[in-house]
Subunit: 381 residues, 2 copies
């Protein structure tokens, strides 16, 4: 294959089978249904299947297979270790013209499919980089993949038309299809997803037996660093085990930096002021690393500017405030509210495009709203 990068997308598959109606499978099905495509659903869990069908994600796949012949694509939406066996079964039933999966690692299902004697020519491995902390079909959303990358790892044996079908499926879900070799994919997700999960767990593990009063001192920083370690341990164990080599490599490098920092801090505590350079270096590299992460999703970003307004904490005030913003003709892109326990007011931050924020602030002030203090400086994101 060529250099990693964006893929030209094909047409929307007219018919798709989705096997596995969890969060990802059901969201794929909903996205395809929203584009008018036909979708058949299967899941060994009857309740999950029934819920997905009732959400409008598609029709149950009849025991005899897709009526009128194979679907264009079958999507295998299950954990990495289960993909190959399902692929073999689906290929045996001739459910579709080509097959893709959505598992978080790509080398393992490919190797297992090879071992099980699957038809590799009709299997285009894939991984949509979407998810949420809730799981199951009830959490599914047609827009789960909107604007998110969807990695595809075409193999030499794949026909171009099959690759186009699967990129068409990813694009139909609103995602950005990217072609990436399987080995690079696995290293990259180890770096940006799997290792961070284990790092969060290792930090959080230190809290397990900490004094309750120590935990009462925790702030938002600790919550953010450890949050992802709080859920989905079963799923993450499968993912880490399936990507053991690349994930282990990143963890070893993180540990090495922490040991260097610990050594430097010990030297500092012993009076060696020069050791501060090593701690400074770690913080500087960390800050540079954070700066390289592309803009946030799902919250206020540096694209938007905040206007702070003090509002009484009672029904209807937020509506009055937003009505005033609407009259100013400014689109409020997001809202954050700072709770003020024990105070009868809160501070609402209305996030608007930078060019609109001053007009919004003026319009709200003119309408009698207490727009807070001077303009805030740069917003750390």
């Amino acid at each position: 294959m060529t250099e990693p990068g964006p893929a030209p997308s094909g047409p929307i598959p007219a018919s798709t089978v989705v096997i596995g109606t969890g969060l990802i499978g059901t969201s794929v099905a909903l996205a395809l249904r929203a584009r008018g495509a036909r979708v058949w659903l299967a899941d060994s869990d009857d309740d999950a299947l029934r819920l997905a069908v009732s959400l409008g994600a598609g029709q149950p796949l009849p025991p005899g297979g897709v009526p009128g012949g194979p679907a264009e694509v079958a999507v295998l939406a299950m954990p990495p270790a289960a993909v190959a066996a399902e692929l073999r079964a689906a290929q045996g039933r001739r459910l579709a013209r080509c097959y893709t999966d959505v598992a978080s690692v790509k080398e393992l299902p490919l190797a297992a499919a090879r071992e099980l004697g699957c038809d590799l020519a009709s299997y285009v491995p894939g991984h949509p980089l979407s998810g949420r902390e809730r799981s199951g079909p009830a959490a599914a959303r047609a827009d789960l993949f909107s604007g998110r990358p969807w990695v595809l790892c075409p193999q030499a044996a794949n026909a171009d038309d099959d690759v186009r079908l699967v990129t068409g499926l990813a694009a139909a879900c609103g995602a950005v299809p990217l072609l990436v070799p399987a080995a690079e994919h696995d290293q990259w997700v180890a770096l940006v997803s799997h290792a961070p999960h284990a790092v969060a767990a290792a930090m959080a593990a230190r809290l397990e037996n900490a004094p309750a009063l120590a935990l009462a001192l925790a702030g938002q920083g600790l919550r953010d660093v450890t949050r992802i370690a709080g859920s989905g341990t079963g799923m993450w164990l499968q993912i880490l085990a399936a990507n053991a080599g690349p994930a282990g490599e990143v963890l070893r490098l993180v540990a090495a930096d922490l040991i260097l920092a610990a050594d430097a801090l010990d030297s500092l505590a012993a009076g060696d002021e020069a050791a501060v350079k090593q701690v400074e270096d770690l913080l500087a590299r960390g800050s540079a690393g954070v700066g390289r992460i592309p803009g946030k999703h799902g919250g206020p970003t540096s694209e938007f500017s905040p206007v702070q307004v003090v509002i009484p904490d009672r029904p209807g005030e937020l509506a009055r405030l937003l009505a005033a913003a609407g009259e100013a003709g400014v689109n409020v892109e997001d809202i954050t509210i700072e709770h003020s326990p024990g105070l009868p007011v809160g501070v609402a931050e209305l996030w608007a495009r930078p060019e609109s924020a001053p007009a919004l602030a003026s319009a709200l002030a003119a309408a009698g709203w207490p727009v807070a203090g001077p303009a805030a400086g740069s917003i750390a994101s």
Copy 2:
């Protein structure tokens, strides 16, 4: 001193000097002013002082000291390494009856104050566990300390009345005063604040030279784990250096767990399936640790239930939605909005008290709003 725990609070100090009008000092001053107390302000940075005064945080401290004699309390609001010298200067000027500070570590300023020959009897070390990512007086808020812990580390030499004055100051700021020995304080903040910062930096440092396309695969998890490493490196270097011993100890333990996990992953990659137990153990301990952190601050919490509504992405729609919520008589505690790039709609989550959420959902549905899907399951926080 007695066991660590909550402190009975004294009266609000009638007069306070705040030295250092950054985020914390100005917020203390604003909180005291809101309670009607007299506040004098000082800062070596004239701009910061002028801004704090213009925010209503108090009057500039005259060169001759507090008019009419010493204030009841002087608050030293500066980095840990600067506290002792300022304490000595303030005591030399007899600015106040007793002194406290707000630095993030407590052993270092105490030791330095002892070394400089300060009067330890009138110094009650303190640390309000509050902060935000913005700094400086413009980011100050009278409610910055609301409901947050404020650690005080009274010394054997302190008079009870002085300790009561400082707890009164903390309580007047809306904080919860806690008495904690200085050594425990430093170990606890190393665990819940300082080490997490270095861990976030060590994870983020791995991104510094990563391929851009790898970073394009990043999701919210990586952003959360690394976020705090993105700002304030200068301040955090000072904090880590000032708490080097305890912070280094935590980092070494985190590193040890990461190396165990990396070894287990290597064994797994080499085919030793039994090694999965060690990874499972880390994830389980991490999840247990996250579960011990008390409820979130500053965002939707498990106290509130979400009602999901699909809304068009144009001016005024959010106002119409909140007007409908207001008509239902339900107080919306918070709002989160999920952006859907490329889609003409977004999903607003209105967070209400659990007992109010069903009524809110019904009222919005009756008003013609598309309230999304079935009731969401449990919300991972």
